[in-house]
Amino acid sequence: MNVTATLFGQMLTFAVLVAFVWRFLWGPMTHMLAERSRRIADGLAAAEKGRHDLERAQRRAVELLRETRQQASEILAQAEKRANEIIDEAKSHAKHEAEGILSAARSEIVRETNAAREQLRVSVAQLAVAAAGRILEEEIDADAHAKMLGAVVRQI
């Protein structure tokens, strides 16, 4: 076998093929495969993260619900307490007012009684004077006997 153009032709063909495969297949394809595996890894990581987030959100939701329930029951208890307070307040207020009205009424009664008594006293005195005048059939000087009359009135 000699060194011939065929040998160099085949060497050149080989070199051209390698260059072509490099440029048009190996290069783009390795790039694509690397990109694909990166995307798969990213996707898996994102899925994992999503699952994690969901778990956390679920925990958070449960926590919130629990907190809200507690708050609601607290508010309810407070409202009940406040209602009781208001009722108590109203009761005591009403009692107080009733007492006031009662005492006012009482003092009015006393006053009215006193006034009636006074009027009665005056009427009795006049009646007594009139009766006495009738009996004596003479005028009695009211002024002269006022002192005695006053004592009589007080005795009644």
């Binding site: 076998m1 060194v3 011939t4 153009a5 040998l7 390698v18 490099w22 297949l25 394809m29 390795t30």
Partner: protein, 258 residues
């Protein structure tokens, strides 16, 4: 009926390349044309698949090429130290191109030469890898690359030093030079001749089978064809692995230095 009444002539005819020119310019047209055609197949497929790669829904040829690429890449990763942008495309091309050229062996041995003779072409050898010019051409290209990388990675001085001190130490340097030169030259020679030898022998057996009477051909012919599916794959694989190995050795520093 046997293919011919003159077996020696038949075999000689089948082992003669379609040749033009003399001396250095003697050109094996059939070898060149068939290797170019198969190279064109490779180029066309690479171009068509590589032009519109679909990362999400790969189909058909892209799947096949991806599988081959990852197979080749795994071979490289398990053998090759460090990183070289060339080694991948080189190994891929070796594997696919050699496989395609070897696969021509599976065509019926007389089919294309018969068609050619009807067209007035006297000789035609359709398996480029049965021509040592193809296999040695590839092996020498690989050899040139190993020398280039030896110079680039280890430095010319270190590389030349390895001729002096390897394998027996500096005091036996004349023997070392002879040994290392033989060792280095044996690499491309064995690389090229292994493929050539296997394919040549395979083709020869096909010719011998073709010389049998027609009713006796199916059994040995079928068996040898099936066996040859393994051989052509294995030989292209071996050529690729050795290519990677030789380049890997060129990328490794001297045994004493690291």
């Amino acid at each position: 009926m046997p293919a011919t009444n003159n077996p020696v002539e038949y075999i000689e005819h089948h082992l003669t390349n379609l040749q033009v020119g003399h001396g250095f310019w003697s050109i094996h047209l059939d070898t060149l044309i068939f290797s170019w055609l198969l190279g064109a197949v490779l180029v066309l497929i690479s171009w068509r698949v590589g032009r519109k790669l679909s990362p999400d829904a790969p189909s058909g040829l892209q799947n096949l090429l991806e599988a081959i690429l990852e197979f080749v890449d795994n071979q490289i990763k398990s053998t090759f130290p460090g990183y070289s942008p060339l080694i991948g495309p080189l190994a891929f091309t070796v594997f696919t191109w050699v496989f395609l050229m070897n696969a021509m062996d599976l065509l019926p041995i007389d089919l294309l030469p018969k068609v050619a003779s009807l067209l007035g072409i006297p000789h035609l050898r359709v398996v480029p890898t049965t021509d040592p010019y193809t296999t040695l051409g590839m092996a020498l290209t690989v050899f040139a690359l190993t020398i280039y990388y030896n110079f680039r990675v280890r430095g010319p001085l270190n590389y030349l030093k390895s001729f002096l001190v390897h394998p027996f130490g500096i005091w036996l340097f004349p023997i070392n030079i002879v040994m290392t030169v033989i060792e280095e030259l044996a690499k491309p020679l064995s690389l090229g001749l292994r493929l050539f030898g296997n394919m040549f022998a395979g083709e020869l057996v096909f010719m011998l089978i073709a010389l049998l009477p027609w009713w006796a051909q199916w059994l040995p012919g079928g068996a040898w064809s099936i066996f040859h599916i393994l051989v052509i794959t294995l030989q292209s694989f071996i050529f690729m692995v050795l290519t990677i190995m030789y380049l890997a050795m060129a990328h490794t520093n001297d045994e004493g230095a690291h």
